[in-house]
């Protein structure tokens, strides 16, 4: 098991979670390999965000375990290795007086540590992160004065600023226009190839996603499918439709929808 864990970024082992008496996750078990780019899909309310929160230690499952980079979650300490953009990132207090630069710098706080301050090198990192999402010209604007898509890019920059080994994004392109979301997916692909970053992307864009991800997992309280993208595509649309409970067209953005 220990050997096995070396190549695994996230291991979820027989995890069950309920809010009160409402079952949200049941016996979820999966391994996410280092260097993979996983698309996590499932209908609304299927427990995707909850699973992500359990993986990040923001929610405590009633049963089961999570291991990050081989370490049991309650012993895991390298939180700066992990970047996270939450689904509700765009529902923050928009009147909050913080500049884009200040928001991105929060991503470094885990690394900088208690009682210490951002150094010049940290500030350079913040600029780089803003540049990587094309937002450097908005650095000194208040976050609330940016458009929804621009805000989302700032949150992505915040997740990237600490050079994470694992990046988890919960529906990051909601509210982002098609062109930006495409360039965003390209950015993710680049990060994945160049930095050998492990990525987990929660999304409803089943078609677009399959052009970028290496693996797909379908969740609806339980894991219904987990395999590489080719297997997912050949597993035929009936499976996916059955899983979503209604008919789904898998559409690629270079195709016409039938």
């Amino acid at each position: 098991m220990k050997n096995n864990l070396n190549s695994i970024a996230i291991r979820v082992d027989d995890l069950s979670f309920h809010y009160g008496d409402k079952n949200v996750l049941q016996h979820v078990t999966m391994d996410i390999k280092k260097g993979s780019f996983l698309g996590l899909v499932g209908p609304n309310g299927s427990g995707k965000s909850t699973l992500i929160k359990c993986i990040l230690g923001l929610q405590k499952p009633q049963q089961g375990n999570v291991y990050l980079f081989g370490e049991k979650i309650n012993k895991f300490n390298d939180w700066e290795k992990i970047g996270y953009v939450s689904q509700k990132a765009n529902s923050f207090n928009t009147a909050f007086p913080a500049t884009a630069f200040e928001v991105v710098s929060m991503g470094l706080f885990g690394r900088v540590g208690l009682f210490r301050f951002l150094k010049a090198a940290d500030k350079r990192k913040v600029w780089e992160a803003l540049k990587s999402v094309n937002m450097e010209q908005y650095a000194h604007q208040n976050i609330g004065e940016l458009s929804g898509g621009q805000q989302q890019r700032v949150f992505i920059a915040r997740a990237l600023v600490s050079d994470p080994m694992l990046l988890i994004l919960d529906e990051p392109t909601v509210g982002v226009d098609t062109e930006s979301s495409e360039s965003f997916y390209k950015l993710l692909k680049e990060l994945h190839y160049n930095n050998n970053m492990t990525l987990v992307l929660v999304t409803h864009d089943v078609g677009v996603m399959t052009d970028y991800v290496t693996d797909v997992a379908c969740l609806n309280k339980q894991i219904h499918f987990h395999g590489n993208t080719r297997e997912f595509e050949t597993s035929s649309s009936e499976n996916i439709s059955a899983f979503y409970g209604h008919h789904v067209h898998v559409l690629h953005h270079d195709h016409d929808h039938a």
Binding site: P97, T99, G110
Partner: protein, 282 residues
């Protein structure tokens, strides 16, 4: 030197006012962005209960009769602050309920203590509305100690307070132990509220914490700027309010708060004016 500072009691008031004018807005920024502006009101009323308790105990015990009531007020206030943080956890989905609970408990206790102590006296009146002539030397030192503690806390915990105010989840992900920082922050707030009472009065403490911030976030770019501007507005209001209060013989709390209202009004119209000019240029 300014002529009105030749009296010692006015020096005390002036020094305390300057310290409070810095402290209240600094903490106020975090309170306002966390959408807890009413917490200051809840804590000031629980402080009043502490002060009333001291007046009551003073009837029977010479220790309390000679003690500065501000200390028991602080003890009540800090206790109330910690209690609010706990209540917020009990009522996870109705966090704001903690505030009226503490506030009404504070008023209830105050009324009982005051009636048991045979009603109002001028002392109590000074605490309610603020009176610069009631500031003692020991108040100055107490507020100075609070100033040092709070400024050190905010200076070293700035990152943590900032990220917890913006996005608690991100804070926890950065490994920040949110619980003790938030409890410590509430305790600091309680101390500052008790410290500000003599100058602005219990009923107006929350104004000194929130109005400068309400003005600054209209025009500030970024969080640091919001803090600096809030402090600037707080100081301008406290200093000009104390002058007016002395020369026109008015209650200091009222003049300070009215100065804050004027600043707030100016900031709102400045924003409107510059905003509409931009549209005009387009």
């Amino acid at each position: 030197m300014l002529p009105f500072l030749k009296y010692e009691f006015l020096q005390n008031a002036f020094l305390t006012g300057i310290m409070v004018g810095l402290l209240a807005p600094v903490l106020g920024v975090f309170i306002v962005v966390r959408r807890q502006a009413l917490i200051a009101d809840a804590l000031s009323h629980i402080t009043l209960a502490g002060i009333a308790a001291n007046l009551l105990l003073g009837k029977w015990s010479s220790f309390f009769a000679t003690a500065n009531p501000i200390y028991l007020g602080m003890a009540f206030s800090v206790g109330g602050a910690i209690f609010i943080e706990q209540l917020r956890k009990v009522y996870k989905h109705y966090e704001e309920l903690a505030i009226p609970i503490i506030m009404s408990a504070g008023i209830g206790l105050s009324v009982i203590f005051i009636s048991m102590a045979d009603g109002f006296n001028t002392d109590l009146f000074n605490y309610l509305f603020g009176s610069i002539i009631a500031v003692k030397q020991s108040d100055v030192w107490t507020v100075f100690a609070i100033l040092i503690v709070v400024l050190l806390f905010v200076f070293f915990m700035y990152k943590e307070l900032f990220v917890l105010s913006f996005d608690e989840e991100q804070g926890r992900l950065s490994g920040i132990r949110s619980n003790w920082i938030l409890v410590a922050f509430m305790a600091m707030t309680a101390l500052v509220i008790a410290a500000s009472m003599k100058i602005v009065g219990i009923l107006l403490v929350s104004a000194l914490m929130t109005l400068p911030v309400a003005a600054s976030i209209r025009i500030a770019k970024g969080f640091k700027q919001a803090i600096w501007l809030s402090v600037l507005f707080g100081e301008v209001a406290v200093i000009s309010g104390m002058f007016l209060s002395y020369y026109l013989d008015l209650a200091s709390g009222g003049t300070i708060v009215l100065c804050l209202v004027v600043i707030l009004f100016l900031c709102i119209s400045y924003k409107k004016f510059t905003g509409s000019r931009k549209v005009g240029h387009l």
